[in-house]
Symmetry: C2
Subunit: 416 residues, 2 copies
């Protein structure tokens, strides 16, 4: 079976001058991959006629499917629609369905409509309109030289709705997809090189259609096995065997045998045990609570957090002793231990996790340089604490602290 290749073209100067991080391509890649389409290339170009034109030419040489996002807004810098009209031929005409959609949206928002909003409903003659349930700019499908081109708005939630509702089902009808299967596991506490040594023989013995990838991130390394082939069921069985062996090889460092984040894993464990969690955060400033509460249903096991950035909040709400703060300092083992006890006490949860550290760029001392972090986790009977030393920038230090705190918490919960 032939592989089905796709290219993703994202349009907008903001992508090139660094004002926007392109999250669309990543999401599209994941969705395509799940149904057996392999993304061959992702290209970002500016709001420039020739550059967009050239990208369309180039990508249609290597891919059967070309997905385009961006440049469909109602303002003058949005040139994608006239360009597509010139590239594929056909005047811009009003699409009745799209027009009705624009009118409905403005009616529901109770906002007056401008001519430029109505112009959103025009599309190149001969394209197939893809409905946009979440916004005014319709999607457009074109066919040329046995290639499929689909243009979608750059607004992430509009694009996502369109992909899920229309584009993916349409592609699945159009192509016979080969199988692509992935298995991902996560390790912590071991470097990429050491992992590679541990699984060297395993890696070298993998058949050609199975690939192994190392994805290091924030002190953890994910390992991904990918297999491609005609028979998806057979592929999955084969991959499960390899994956089982891989888990066995790295078992001392295994955090999970899914690619899921620690906040999902911790949440699932707590839910299954019907237990609750609170956080007491100094240096992470609420980031751990934020990670936990991004998960739907987290209110079942997460009661809350005291973000005690100032020492007086540590004292007044978490009841850390003034003497400890004075003599040991806010970044100390005794402080995070007391923060855990305070959080358990005032929020009445089964478990609590606490952080205190110096995230930088300023605030370090000879004794406690930037990157010094104390983390503690505990329940009413026991508290364990661990010191970390990170050496990165502020945001990375916050993320590393959160990751390590969640991993320490995961281990503690499983042991108690």
């Amino acid at each position: 079976m032939e592989k089905v290749f796709a290219s993703i073209i994202t349009i907008g100067d903001e992508l090139l001058i660094g004002q926007t991080i392109d999250t669309n391509s990543s999401w599209i890649g994941r969705e395509l991959n799940a149904v057996g389409v392999w993304v061959k290339r992702r290209v970002a170009v500016g709001d420039m006629w020739d550059d967009i034109w050239e990208a369309l030419d180039e990508e249609s040489q290597s891919s059967q499917i070309i997905l385009i996002t961006g440049g469909l807004g109602p303002t003058a810098d949005d040139i994608t629609k006239p360009l597509l009209s010139a590239y594929f031929g056909g005047r811009l005409v009003v699409d009745e369905g799209a027009l009705q959609n624009v009118k409905n949206i403005f009616r529901s928002l109770n906002r007056p409509m401008l001519d430029r909003n109505l112009a959103q409903a025009t599309v190149p003659e001969g394209c197939t309109v893809i409905p946009n349930k979440r916004g005014t700019a319709p999607g457009m499908l074109f066919r040329k030289n046995e290639r499929i081109f689909i243009s979608m708005p750059g607004v992430p939630h509009e694009m996502k709705g369109m992909m899920t509702d229309s584009v993916i089902p349409l592609l699945q009808k159009e192509f016979i997809m080969p199988g692509i299967s992935h298995r991902v596991l996560m390790t912590a506490g071991v470097g990429e090189s050491f992992l590679a040594e541990m699984i060297k023989e395993f890696e070298e013995a993998l058949p050609k259609h199975v690939k192994l990838a190392y994805l290091p991130n924030y002190g953890m390394v994910r390992l991904r096995l990918t297999a491609t082939g005609a028979n998806k069921i057979q592929l999955d069985q084969e991959l499960d065997l390899f994956f089982g062996r891989l888990q066995e090889l790295v078992k001392d460092y295994l955090v999970s045998n899914t690619g899921e984040s620690l906040e999902i894993i911790v949440g699932r464990i707590l839910k299954s045990r019907n237990q609750t969690l609170a956080t007491a955060e100094s240096c992470t400033g609420g980031y751990i609570a934020h990670l936990i509460t991004t998960i739907p249903g987290s209110s079942q096991y997460f009661k809350g957090s005291v973000v005690s950035y100032a020492n007086e909040v540590k004292e007044n709400i978490l009841h850390v002793s003034a003497a400890t703060l004075l003599h040991e300092g806010a970044v100390s083992e005794e402080t995070v231990r007391q923060m855990v006890r305070g959080a358990l006490d005032v929020m009445g949860t089964d478990f609590a996790v606490a952080t205190s550290g110096i995230m930088g760029p300023d605030g370090g001392t000879a004794d406690k340089p930037v990157g010094t972090v104390w983390v503690a986790v505990g329940n009413v009977n026991k508290t364990v604490a661990q010191k970390f030393k990170f050496r990165f920038d502020r945001m990375r230090n916050i993320e590393l602290t959160a990751t390590n705190a969640l991993n320490l918490l995961r281990k503690f919960i499983l042991e108690h």
Copy 2:
């Protein structure tokens, strides 16, 4: 003066199958732009020999500078180095400086070194080594057909260090850069189309070397003016005039005349007035506290947050009345007003902001559907509250709530 163009090639299957969001390209684009290099294209390709080779060929046709990130790790899926060695010619040889760097890093980490770590110090003969102060993989510079190719590791903080310390200074020596200037302002409370109508004449009268872009995001729209030309000083003066006029035109909706985020703006106002802030967060789950504490120096004005996800935490720590929670519910005007008062009280700050809402996907009722949010801000004398209705997914609702809460807070602080 001729424009200097760059292309960015990022390498790695994880970029194409959606396991990683490419933040490197965006950062590189911003840094290049600041010194006058225009990023023409960004291309992401997988760990495939032919695809990388083709990307090098293609990008060197349109750009004088080709920056490459990724694929330099110590594991078998990292094929960039042998490929560069084949592409530019030259055997792989040990670089003494790079070897010393690898040894120093392992010594400071107190970890044993493996052969594959030592192999990190090999580079294609004839390349210029760019030191990596933060990791083991050296950067490499090649010249071919009057093009400059620079390969860097994909680990963001290593790449950033290399760009700042070596690559940017090197490019500035190599090329005479034209001037590129940007001005960005941020608006809130007005749609993209309405803004476009308000500034239509202004936009149409702009000279050809000045471009206007609309960047909508989370209920706010940023407007960016970009000018290019030979004389940077003249350009800045000219752009300041246009920018002044633009600010005047949108003044009713102007949030700031910088591209800065609301948490930076709020922080600066608080610092200048020597005042303090606390947050009391239910539905935002600590996200507002997180945004505020990502800013270095935020401990000067931010005392902390009570993330009161469970009602008992609202009652016990923030002293929201049980009767209010029972009769009005957690998502109500009275609850967020009491949360503000509670936060001011227990954390002793000048200002507080509170949020409570239903973020989805579950938890909505006919009365209070998913996306219903109450926000309140206040000081000891006065509290104001506002209701919002969002219609997106959980993460987007959290972000929209945080943005609107910070904007409400900004306005309240400036008025009191």
